[in-house]
Symmetry: C2
Subunit: 227 residues, 2 copies
DNA sequence: TGGAACACTATAGTATTACTATTGTTAAAA
DNA sequence: TTTTAACAATAGTAATACTATAGTGTTCCA
């Protein structure tokens, strides 16, 4: 995506961090190398200590930005969803056909992504790998309800609501628009994961995002078709 | 489900454990209370030490059955999938209509479950909660490929393959039977989870498994319908 | 009947993790 | 100029995920 707006910034809800990582260079390093290191090591083996070493600082500094590695994860995932929403709004503005807008939404959810030059310290391709492999862990915890009350999942919910609204526009009688959207969003992740690691669970070939898009588009449009 | 076969036993592949927990009372206690404790604490807070305390033994004993808490998780999930497969095979035998068999499969995946009296030390209702909340963590790790080579996910793959075969029977031209089945299986889990914790992401009401079944059945049959 | 073999208990120890706390330095804001 | 803030440096804690080893009691079978 070409740089469309020079001064746009993806923001994440205040509650997710202790100090805004966008507000300083150290903070931006935490985000940038946090993404790379989680991708390298996986969330389990990733620690603030290792991240601190890599960016030449100490754990204490990182803890002033994020309460825990869990909230760092939540931050990164929220950033990702906000970024997708920004791409969606941009790509669907001035498009009158709801069907067309839904197709674009599914295209974006299927995850064909180039690095976005607008956000220099975020490697979106790597971030997407993290979202695919780790995002479920952000909510599959005993703390979900508390986290949800804090608003940790608002970005995801907002994006889903927006896409569900398009479905309601196309067919107001379809009974499960929200379930369908969350199914597509999650399915996109693990179909990518399965294609890479457990290929017998999918018919999508590794790297062929267009097959995934076709599978999901077909699924959605058949589901919501008026009888 | 009434006890149909007195001596049936759900077995899990040897590679998953060091010593078969079915082979001794301690082993069965590990399974029984392992399930209850993971459900209570969540996988993150669950430790072998806590489990050992609860069943009046020590960590060392548990380590003789399972290499790590990760393999215990894999064991429990494999057991669950094997149990579902057993229920599926039973419920679909002698039913000639592939459509009917597929409906039964979706019903079973949707997770309406009563405790199965055949397996006394396993509380299937609680085990299902674990599968819903924790099963993704069994494969979303840096060790997936190694685990997969060890055969840790064979139970899941076998069940999916079996259901995909029914789809192929109904419509051999449908291009994504495996993806559709894994999507339905995974979707069933987090739609239940969302209905309990993030209800705005779903239209299924907490506890209403029949809505989930309707959503998934509708989705699948429309997807595979011949044009 | 004796003696391995085995299942389990008891205890100890290790490296690492996920933090918290404290003190000191530097550089910019009031 | 004083204050404040951001960060560095160091230390410390309770818990985790193991590993190791020695000892006890029961069973098997020669």
């Amino acid at each position: 995506m070409k740089s469309l707006l020079a001064n746009i910034k993806i923001t994440v809800d205040e509650k997710v961090y202790l100090k805004d990582p966008e507000s300083s260079e150290k903070g931006q390093q935490i985000i940038q190398h946090g993404i790379l290191l989680i991708d390298e090591l996986g969330l389990e083996a990733f620690t603030f200590k290792k991240l601190a070493e890599r960016i030449g600082t100490t754990e204490a500094t990182i803890y002033r930005y994020f309460e825990s590695k869990h909230t760092l994860l939540v931050y990164l995932i929220s950033w990702y969803w906000n970024w997708l929403e920004y791409k969606l709004v941009f790509a669907t503005s001035n498009i009158p056909s709801a069907e067309e807008r839904l197709k674009i939404a599914i295209h974006i959810l299927s995850g064909e992504i180039e690095n976005d030059l607008d956000f220099a310290h975020v490697d979106e391709v790597v971030l997407q790998r993290i979202v695919v492999a780790e995002s479920a862990k952000a909510y599959l915890t005993k703390g979900v309800d508390a986290d949800n009350q804090e608003g940790f999942f608002l970005s995801y919910k907002r994006l889903c609501r927006r896409i569900a609204a398009i479905i309601r526009e196309i067919n107001p009688d379809y009974k499960y628009p929200d379930s369908l959207v969350s199914t597509v969003a999650e399915s996109a992740h693990y179909q990518i994961f399965f294609s890479q690691h457990l290929p017998s669970l999918t018919n999508i070939n590794n790297g062929k995002q267009n097959q995934l898009e076709e599978f999901l588009t077909d699924l959605v449009f058949k589901a919501i078709e008026k009888q």
